[in-house]
């Protein structure tokens, strides 16, 4: 956002953010932890707000190979293109267009001119996670909270209740790490969960069971788009991942249980968030990350039968996690 100095000349404000393992220097203002990671943690990335025409000059349309498209009933919606030299272009009507450099260190962002908050949905769901993955972080489709200073991740297919569980745990006093996209750092120091976007999206049915005080505890309401989107500052530093829960919900589940499981490599490998990253480097690093997670992080299967409420699930998970995360 440009600001004016006393002399009247516009200067572009810079914003420091940290998300998905990235220490971000941005001319674009977005939700999230307004401080960089402590020195030595995370990797650097720059986000620059640009006009759509400027973005197109960097990447003429149809100049890349389409690697992902997600269509809605009205036609094309989200498109992701790849160019070997230029990197990736991510675009969705109404949500903006973004270029992510091939090393993930630079993002050009052309957000919709009418502003609003919804462009952040694409920014946090696709753009920043891609930059993170290109810089070596392992991205999983999972939510995560911190309990007693240690990270607990919740993985499942969409609609199974990852966010609902995380939301109820936050209400109960856990600290927010991320919603829907979990960035993990792996290596000699172990597996660490990095704070993600400062945003979580909660289903109306889950909000309905919360009191007004509990809803307020989730964060500041950004807006509604099928779900209610809350701005919520995540934890300040990466935390050791002490447990990974896989949620299983449905009529075939007869009773509630939390059981330690030998991690199935297929499930871990399939949990990659950006499935269109198929180059050898990413495939290799993802396999290595999954092997390290399988070897170092307790994995639990959380089976939830019909009729068990989310608050009840959260209560039982909190109790289990306090022991698992110790």
């Amino acid at each position: 956002m440009p600001t004016r100095t006393e002399g009247g000349a516009a200067t572009a404000a810079r914003h420091a953010r940290s998300a998905f393992g990235l220490r971000i220097d941005s001319s674009l203002l977005f939700e999230g932890r307004p401080h960089p990671f402590p020195h030595g943690q995370g990797t650097a990335a720059v986000v620059e707000a640009v006009a759509p025409a400027a973005l197109d000059r960097h990447w003429p349309r149809q100049d890349g190979a389409l690697v992902m498209e997600r269509r809605n009933a009205a036609g094309r919606f989200l498109e992701i293109e790849h160019h070997a030299e230029r990197g990736y272009r991510i675009s969705a009507p109404g949500y903006g267009a973004y270029l992510v450099s091939r090393d993930g260190r630079r993002v050009l962002a052309a957000v919709p001119p009418d502003g609003g908050w919804q462009w952040q949905r694409l920014f946090f769901a696709q753009v920043l996670p891609l930059a993170s993955a290109l810089q070596g972080f392992a991205l999983f489709h999972a939510s995560a909270v911190a309990i007693d200073g240690r990270g607990c991740g919740f993985a499942a297919a969409s609609g199974t209740g990852k966010t609902s569980l995380a939301a109820h745990l936050l209400v109960a006093g856990a600290h927010f790490i991320t919603d829907d996209v979990l960035a993990l750092g792996t290596g000699p120091t172990g597996v660490h969960a990095y704070p993600g976007a400062g945003m979580l999206a909660v289903h109306p049915a889950e909000l309905a069971v919360l009191s007004a005080t509990e809803r307020a505890a989730l964060g500041r309401v950004m807006g509604d788009a099928g779900k209610t989107y809350f701005a919520r500052e995540p934890v300040s530093t990466p935390l050791p991942l002490s447990a990974l829960y896989y949620l299983v919900r449905g009529r075939s589940v007869e009773r509630f249980s939390i059981a330690l499981r030998s991690p199935d490599p297929r499930v871990l490998l399939a949990g990659a968030f950006l499935s269109y990253l198929q180059d050898a480097g990413h495939l290799r690093s993802h396999l290595e990350a999954c092997a390290q997670i399988a070897g170092e992080v307790p994995v639990f299967e959380l089976r939830i039968p019909p009729g068990v409420s989310s608050p009840e699930v959260a209560e039982r998970v909190a109790e289990h996690a306090a022991g698992a995360c110790a």
């Binding site: 030998s262 991690p263 490599p265 297929r266 490998l269 198929q278 050898a280 495939l283 290799r284 396999l287 290595e288 999954c290 092997a291 399988a294 070897g295």
Partner: protein, 107 residues
């Protein structure tokens, strides 16, 4: 269907060779499975623990025959039995492009 004598000759060929992981392949052991990734094809192949151990032994041995001997000692099984299993595995991994056979280094 290859004849028995053809199979025997194929196994003999394997035994004197060095079996090495293909350059475009990488593998990692999990609790109950070894996963081999073909980086070129983007395909994953699962090996049971025994096959995973065999791949480990093959990758670290000068020849397939040496790997067979090590595994026979490790598992306490007769060499001909291990030989059959290892050479069968070599055939499968070769077919999937996950290993390559090379001449053994001269002593």
């Amino acid at each position: 269907m290859p004849s028995k004598s053809t199979e025997v000759r194929a196994h003999e060929v394997f035994l004197g060779k060095k079996a090495r992981l293909a350059e475009h392949a990488v593998y990692r052991a999990f609790a109950h499975e070894t996963v081999v990734l073909n980086l070129n094809a983007g395909s994953y192949h699962g090996l049971n623990p025994t096959a995973g151990r065999m791949l480990d032994a093959l990758d670290g041995a000068a020849t397939v025959r040496e790997a067979v001997r090590r595994l026979a000692r490790e598992y306490g099984r007769p060499i001909p039995e291990i030989e059959q299993d290892v050479t069968d595995l070599c055939g499968q991994l070769l077919e999937r492009g996950l290993i390559e056979l090379a001449h053994a280094d001269p002593d």
